[in-house]
């Protein structure tokens, strides 16, 4: 099956234009390349267009009974479809030609019609129509792609955890401010049992849908592994890493910090897969960097054993987890926010609620960035230990 012929509508109340077209394009119409439709005034033309929605090029005379060519042009311009019109006018009739062009005619021909000029003009018109069609198709495809990307982002965002219920024992708040493109930051918190809460922050390499998918899978794996058989954060990461490594030919990786707070003792055990080291805000305004565990990012090195480390929280101490969207946020002059700015700000926030810590840090980063474009997701979690759960 060949493709259906390109259709052109010819509108003239006299027969000469129709005869000329039939004669001149006999071969191409016979070959099924072109097909001509005919109407004898503007009104008829509109009816034909109604019946044949895939006509995009019209060749029309100006002076006709019932509805003239200029009125037809206006009607076409008001319509929803992008129909191109070539106007045929008497030689020297500049006034009508000007009017036609102003009403959106694509081109014009003058009578008596020159065969070659007619063919060239129709060719040009058809090319123009095809280019427009392609542009419209591309636009529609782009809109569809963008909708899918927006959906991917919505799905990813919907995976962020529900806020933990208010408790007298802890105060956890988190925020993720996505950059324009769907990205790969993740935070999570959940109960392991009545007296242990898990805190997670992660950042996947790269952006876009692959990164978002990788993030989503990692979160699900970590939750699954932890709920099934929790022993230590390091053991969980070792298992998740092996699962992620199994099929990762494109070398996507994720930096992830995973810690578990024992609400009875204030002991915080954690393992770190190549992520920026969190901070501890002590009640006396000291800001400590969480000691490293020295392990690699998840997803690229199978059979790697993730180590544990631990620290002690006193009531009132706050853990602060973040992604490099904070420390590497840039102002308009390629200067980064840096860890030292972060630590300075955190030192002023000791004793504050988690909500306040998050808000103040994010405000400071956004003020620093100013009008510059936010290039990466900004994510942080603050978890304050309030009072031990009595066993």
């Amino acid at each position: 099956m060949g493709k259906s012929p390109t259709q052109v509508l010819v509108v003239d109340d006299e027969e000469d234009l129709e005869l000329l077209v039939r004669q001149k394009f006999r071969r191409r119409t016979r070959d099924g390349d072109l097909k001509f439709l005919f109407a004898h005034n503007g009104k008829e033309a509109l009816e034909v267009l109604q019946e044949h929605p895939d006509v995009y090029l019209v060749l029309s005379d100006i002076n006709m009974p019932v509805m003239d060519g200029l009125t037809l042009l206006s009607q076409l311009a008001d319509g929803e479809k992008d129909i191109q019109a070539v106007i045929v006018s008497a030689y020297g009739d500049m006034k009508n030609i000007r009017t036609a062009m102003n009403r959106g005619a694509f081109d014009f021909l003058t009578k008596p019609i020159d065969f070659n000029d007619l063919e060239a003009t129709i060719e040009k018109g058809l090319k123009h129509v095809q280019a427009l069609q392609r542009a419209l198709e591309t636009r529609d495809r782009l809109i569809a792609v963008k909708q899918e990307l927006d959906m991917a982002r919505d799905v990813q965002m919907s995976f962020q955890p529900e806020p933990l219920i208010d408790s007298e024992h802890y105060d956890v708040k988190a925020v993720i401010i996505p950059a324009r493109e769907v990205g790969g930051d993740l935070y999570d918190f959940f109960y392991i049992d009545k007296s242990h809460i898990a805190l997670v922050i992660a950042d996947v390499s790269g952006k876009g849908v692959p990164a978002a998918l990788f993030t989503t899978v990692t979160r699900a794996l970590l939750r699954a592994v932890t709920s099934k058989d929790y022993s230590t954060p390091g053991d969980c990461l070792t298992m998740v890493n092996d699962l992620l490594c199994e099929n990762n030919p494109s070398c996507i990786f994720i930096t992830l910090f995973f810690g578990v707070l024992d609400l009875q003792t204030g002991k915080f055990r954690y393992s770190n897969a190549g992520h920026n080291l969190p901070r501890v805000l002590r009640t006396d305004s000291r800001v400590e960097v969480v000691p490293k565990t020295g392990n690699i990012v998840l997803g690229i090195q199978p059979d790697h054993t993730y180590q544990n480390n631990q620290l002690q929280l006193a009531p009132g101490d706050t853990l602060f987890l973040y992604t490099d969207g904070i420390t590497e946020a840039e102002d308009g002059k390629n200067t980064e926010f840096t860890e030292s700015r972060l630590d300075e700000r955190l030192a002023e926030l000791s004793g504050s609620s988690s909500e306040r810590v998050i808000t103040d840090v994010v405000d400071a980063v956004q003020e620093f960035v100013g009008e510059a474009v936010q290039s990466d997701d900004i994510t942080c979690v603050a978890a304050r230990f309030l009072a031990p759960v009595l066993s």
């Binding site: 790269g206 070398c251 930096t255 190549g274 690699i296 990012v297 390629n334």
Partner: protein, 116 residues
């Protein structure tokens, strides 16, 4: 814009290896430059690459991923990728991410060439 290109990669043909001098910032928006420079060398049959990071000012996770891919690609061809002359803050990025454990890193270019 007065800003110059934020990343350039210059290749220098040595006896035992191709040295890639990476100048500027490798991040999500510039990583393609590094990736195509590596691919170009592999395509040309140069399978031992020494990355000179003396002038590297920043590398993001997207950049680290490109290095990892470079290491895998050269390995597949029977060669290898070595990295040298990391500034302190770059070395720190490698250390925190654990990449210093899986990539072949050397203090100086001479050390790296020695290890080829």
């Amino acid at each position: 814009m007065e800003e110059k290109a934020k990343l350039s990669v210059e290749a220098e043909q040595g006896d035992k290896a191709t040295i890639l001098i990476v100048t500027g910032r490798v991040d999500g928006s510039s990583v393609g430059i590094l990736e195509s420079a590596v691919q170009e060398q592999i395509n040309a049959g140069n399978k031992t690459l020494v990355f000179d990071f003396k002038e590297l000012s920043y590398i993001s996770s997207a950049g680290l991923r490109a290095l990892l891919i470079a290491a895998r690609l050269t390995q597949k061809e029977g060669g290898k990728a070595l990295f040298c002359a990391l500034a302190d803050h770059i070395a720190e990025i490698f250390e925190i991410s654990g990449f210093n454990e899986i990539l072949d890193i050397h203090a100086t270019k001479a050390d790296a060439l020695e290890a080829v």
